[in-house]
């Protein structure tokens, strides 16, 4: 912490004001303004009150945020809210708070995320001048083309602005204390460009120090500090400046979402973003895709199956309401590869296509009309249909030009790379690569409770689903076996009946044979329902859970990159210190430049990490919802098939009973 004092130097005049303003923003948003006065007024009198205010929240802030990198934003918001202790604020955020304490808190969790996503979008536009960050932001801006949210964001600033003047008066002390929120401003502010740039260049040094000093001077409990240091140690290199850096870095994102959240909650407090999201998806999902008419094209080993992909939609993004194209299996794989190339590193969950089956396809190519290859084709057709439906039901993927092209364009360039790699193979490779990465590098110490639990859950679930899948497959096989054996038995009973010399008994036995024949049909149908309705559902979700793990891996990669940059920055700083010590001013400038450069990178990577975390979380929540819906629908369908079987059974045995009774 000593180091921090070195850095802490002079808060820039510019930055001070903004900071204040910023505070006001946040608070204004969060507490609908009332809090500001509270906050500000005490500060001039004595530093105490503010300290208290911050003391409490900091505990939360530091323990939570640092430990769960992603969730910080929301949590910070929550944490801050209580600090001012204004009733209003409490009311407003009462839910989130509860949730927070429970840690589960899905709605709360979701709220901030969309905002988070938007944040970068907005930011880049304004401070396009700022060096490193601009790149990433531009990218992100494209990705998340949500206009609404931006609007929200912009609406707030005005509020903020009006409030600025008031707080600006308050003394420096307040300011430094408040420091932790410093970064918020740039984004929220109207003229973020300057501020941001400034920050990027200068902020690092002063801010951290101020933040830390504030906490210290405030007489923060040692507890806090411990927590803080602990968290940071786990996160990254242990040098204090890094800690500060982290903290500082964390804050911007934290504060940024704070504003939007506040705004959204103030606008429609009851409406969670989840709901919004759902509405959105429902609106968008006016798109029916069906795959029909699998058709063998060509002969011999060059033969392939072509499928008719029919789309029916009222979405204006398509040229017409109904259209069909013919696609072959490798086209589907190609689509998957294109989508994963573009989107998977951003944390999107790309639905995986069905596996390539050389054995099955060879059978189809070579064999004529045997039932197993017919089953194979039907299985694949259905799997492709579900795959495509999953793709288009993803609001972001639907926007992808490749998806549209796939659905609409008459001729697609032949997907080449898929020849060797099946979808599953590709996934496997991807998984292997990421696994290797994760094993080689230091295991990420998961600081985000939500992710920590979710990753565990997903792994467990995948394991159980695999087990379940094996069992359902076994059921399918046994049911087929049962069907076969019933057929054989039916024949045997018919023979027995024909040799029975009591007429009535003979008749009853041949009736029994007929009943068994019908039951054989039922078993066969049921086996196919076991397979198509139940087993394939599980197979799909095993694959999808693999893709979810892929998302987690992408997030971890982003984290790793950030940490690496963090380490690099640390080294550069040390180098600078050495140069200072050695009194070599000639090289000092270069070192400083490098530091600046790496600071920017750290900021960028950190943001990327946060963004990907938010995206992944959103994706996973969406996935969970879809999963629940899918399971519900499919299992109900499955149970209905069972129900039908039983109804038929009743019918058959009902008809048989009088025959049995007629035996004399």
């Amino acid at each position: 912490m000593a180091a921090s004092s070195e850095r802490s130097p002079p808060p820039f005049p510019d930055s001070e004001e903004p900071e204040l303003l910023e505070d006001s923003d946040e608070e204004a948003d969060a507490f609908t303004g009332t809090s500001i006065s509270e906050m500000d007024s005490p500060s001039p009198d004595s530093t105490r009150p503010p300290k208290d205010i911050f003391n409490e929240p900091p505990e939360d802030i530091f323990s939570d945020p640092l430990s769960n990198i992603n969730s910080e934003p929301q949590k910070k918001v929550d944490a801050k809210i209580p600090s001012p202790s204004s009733d209003e604020a409490v009311d407003l955020f009462s839910d989130p708070l509860d949730d927070d304490s429970e840690v589960m808190s899905s709605p709360e969790v979701q709220n901030p995320m969309p905002d988070l996503l938007n944040e970068p979008v907005e930011a880049p536009k304004s401070d396009s001048s700022s060096k490193s960050s601009s790149v990433k932001k531009a990218a992100s801006a494209e990705m998340f083309g949500d206009d609404d949210d931006e609007e929200d964001l912009f609406k707030e600033p005005p509020k903020v602005v009006t409030k600025k003047p008031q707080p600006s008066g308050p003394p420096v002390d307040v300011f430094t204390e408040v420091k932790s929120d410093v970064k918020v401003k740039p984004q929220v502010k109207d003229d973020p460009t300057d501020l941001f740039a400034e920050e990027a260049l200068t902020a690092p040094a002063p801010k951290p120090s101020s933040g830390s000093s504030s906490s210290r001077t405030n007489g923060v409990h040692s507890e806090e500090q411990d927590l803080f240091s602990e968290a940071t140690v786990e996160l990254s290199l242990d040098s204090p400046c890094n800690d500060r850096k982290n903290k500082e870095a964390v804050k911007p994102s934290v504060s940024a979402p704070a504003a939007p959240v506040a705004s959204s909650s103030s606008k429609a407090p009851s409406k969670s973003l989840e709901e919004l999201e759902e509405e959105e998806s429902e609106d968008k999902f006016d798109l029916n895709i069906s795959i029909t008419n699998p058709e063998k094209v060509g002969d011999g080993m060059n033969a392939y199956m072509a499928y008719k992909v029919s789309t029916q939609t009222s979405l204006t993004m398509f040229r017409s309401k109904t259209f069909t194209v013919r696609r072959r299996f490798s086209d589907f794989l190609g689509l998957f590869e294109k989508l994963s190339e573009k989107h998977s590193q951003n944390g999107y969950l790309i639905p995986p296509p069905p596996e390539k089956s050389i054995l099955g396809m060879t059978k189809v190519k070579v064999g004529k009309e045997d039932p197993s290859s017919a089953e194979f084709v039907e299985r694949r057709r259905a799997a492709l249909e579900r795959y495509l439906q999953r793709v288009v039901s993803h609001p972001s993927l639907l926007q992808d030009p490749d998806v549209r092209e796939f659905l609409e364009k008459e001729e697609l360039p032949r997907a080449v790379s898929t020849q060797a790699l099946s979808g599953a193979g590709f996934l496997k490779m991807l998984n292997k690569a990421t696994d290797a990465v994760s094993k080689m590098t230091i295991k990420m110490n998961e600081q985000d409770v939500w992710f920590d639990e979710k990753i565990q859950d997903v792994e467990n679930e995948e394991q159980h689903l695999r087990k379940l899948h094996v069992m359902v497959e076994s059921l399918v096989n046994h049911r087929k076996e049962l069907s076969g054996n019933t057929a054989v038995f039916a024949k045997s009973v018919a023979m027995l009946g024909s040799s029975e010399d009591n007429t009535a008994l003979s008749r009853a036995l041949s009736q029994l044979a007929e009943v068994e024949d019908r039951i054989e049909q039922l078993h066969q149908e049921q086996a196919s329902n076991d397979f198509f309705t139940f087993s394939e559902l599980l197979a799909d979700y095993i694959r999808l859970l693999g893709a979810v793990r892929g998302c987690f891996d992408q997030r971890m990669k982003a984290w790793q990159r950030w940490q690496d940059a963090e380490n690099m920055l640390q080294k550069k700083r040390e180098a600078e210190a050495k140069l200072l010590w050695a009194n070599k001013p000639d090289k000092l400038q270069q070192a400083k430049d490098e530091i600046t450069e790496w600071e920017a990178k750290v900021t960028q990577y950190e943001r990327e990490f946060e963004r990907i975390s938010a995206t992944v979380r959103k994706e996973v929540i969406r996935f969970d919802k879809e999963k629940a819906r899918d399971f519900n629908r499919q299992v109900i369908k499955y149970l209905e098939s069972l129900l039908h079987s039983q109804q038929q059974l009743i019918k058959y045995w009902d008809a048989f009973l009088p025959e049995a009774k007629a035996i004399v």
């Binding site: 589960m104 639990e453 859950d457 467990n460 679930e461 159980h464 689903l465 087990k467 379940l468 069992m471 359902v472 076994s474 059921l475 046994h478 049911r479 076996e481 049962l482 054996n485 019933t486 054989v488 038995f489 045997s492 009973v493 023979m495 027995l496 040799s499 029975e500 010399d501 009591n502 009535a504 008994l505 009853a508 036995l509 029994l512 969970d624 999963k627 629940a628 399971f631 519900n632 299992v635 109900i636 149970l639 209905e640 069972l642 129900l643 039983q646 109804q647 059974l649 009743i650 045995w653 009902d654 048989f656 009973l657 049995a660 009774k661 035996i663 004399v664």
Partner: protein, 413 residues
């Protein structure tokens, strides 16, 4: 593993219902029992030890040759076989269908499974283990009860037979309250039996080839030959069908428990859903298993019993056919002797003995075969009616479960 069960005792798992159905089922096979108060036999208790089963044979009788009116003895499977063989070997009974011997108790498969389960104990959760153990125990119990019932059926058939019930060996079997010191056959005897069987079946083919003078027997012969083969086939096929039905039920059971684990682990809303479906499968699995068990009792066991009973009827026809051939040969020999005027008296006696034997067999055999048919038709009727009723009951139970579960699930959405 030692398992002590009396057939009247309630089942471990399935309760008295299971047992009583089974008992009824097996007794039903042997329909034609005149309810005759003068001699009633049942197996009141049974004890399974490592390699043997001890049956307590309980007799109630007013017949004067028994010392008491009611008594019990402990018998083992070998003693049942001894009794059966003594009937078969008794020339006096050549004209009767000897009630088929009960099959040897076979718990090996079940015991093996239980042992395997013990070895695999570490690899599964406690619930899984308990569940599996219960299942195996239930399976063991079912086989055990079946064995007991088969032995009982044999005794009841004998007790109901107008001639065999008076057999001295039978009375000793029922009354002598000590070990009959019957031993199993040794290797030499088994080998002898084997050769005897080979000769018999070769002879059987020969004898069967002889055209019968009597239309009734000629008809019965063709019928039984075909019927026996077909019932054998049906019996094997029904076993296979039921086995795969049981496997499917087992799968459903395992699916139910995995769904349960999923339900307890999943933290989302889906867990309730999984639990509900798991509960449903747990119940439908029980019904499916019961369907398989009832098909086993009503169908497979019926066919199996008539496989053995038709073999016994075939044996009767063989004995008659043999006697006929002997009689014809004796006639020829008599003709020859007369022609040569040599040993005529001896040939005449032989011819007369053969004639008497043949006629005696034919006389009782006709009635036996008619009875066999009556019993068979009645048994099939009873079992098929019960089968259909049980199938209906189970299907309706299943239907109801599915309907209520679907109602709940759809209400949830």
């Amino acid at each position: 593993i030692f398992l002590c069960v009396s057939p009247q005792q309630e089942g471990l798992d399935d309760g008295p219902d299971f047992l009583s159905e089974e008992d009824r089922g097996l007794r039903a096979v042997n329909v034609d029992l005149q309810t005759d108060a003068t001699l009633q036999v049942d197996i009141s208790d049974a004890l399974s030890e490592r390699d043997k089963v001890k049956f307590t044979v309980h007799t109630k009788s007013t017949l004067p040759n028994f010392k008491q009116n009611e008594f019990s003895v402990v018998r083992q499977h070998e003693e049942f076989i001894w009794l059966h063989d003594s009937f078969v070997e008794n020339e006096e009974y050549a004209g009767y269908i000897i009630p088929p011997a009960p099959p040897r108790p076979d718990f090996d498969a079940s015991r093996e499974k239980l042992q395997k389960l013990g070895e695999g104990e570490g690899s599964m959760t406690k619930e899984e283990f308990t569940k599996m153990k219960q299942e195996l125990e239930a399976e063991y119990l079912a086989i055990f009860k079946k064995t007991v019932a088969m032995h009982e059926v044999f005794l009841c058939r004998v007790a109901a037979h107008p001639v065999l019930r008076k057999d001295l060996n039978f009375h000793v079997f029922l009354e002598y309250n000590q070990d009959l010191s019957v031993r199993g056959k040794n290797k030499k005897e088994k080998l002898e039996d084997f050769f005897k069987n080979v000769v018999k079946s070769a002879d059987g083919v020969l004898v069967a080839g002889v055209k019968d003078v009597d239309d009734f027997f000629e008809h019965e012969k063709t019928f039984l030959l075909e019927y026996h083969n077909r019932v054998k086939d049906s019996s094997a096929k029904s076993d296979r069908m039921i086995r795969s039905h049981k496997s499917a039920a087992d799968d459903i059971n395992r699916i139910a428990s995995t769904l349960y684990t999923l339900g307890t682990q999943d933290s989302t809303d889906l867990c309730k859903f999984f639990l509900k479906v798991s509960e449903l499968f747990e119940k439908t699995r029980k019904i499916e298993a019961r369907v398989a068990a009832d098909e086993d009792l009503k169908l497979a066991d019926l066919l199996k019993y008539y496989l053995r009973e038709s073999q016994a009827a075939k044996d009767l026809l063989y004995r008659r056919g043999r006697a006929l051939v002997d009689y014809e040969n004796a006639n020829k020999a008599l003709d020859k002797a007369r022609a040569k005027n040599k040993d005529v008296l001896q040939a005449e006696t032989t011819q007369q003995v053969c004639c008497q034997k043949f006629e005696k067999i034919s006389e009782s055999a006709k009635q036996e075969l008619i009875d066999f048919k009556t019993r068979r038709v009645a048994a099939f009727r009873k079992n098929l009616v019960e089968l259909a009723e049980l199938e209906l009951k189970h299907a309706k139970g299943n239907l109801q479960l599915l309907q209520s579960c679907l109602g709940v699930l759809k209400g949830d959405t």
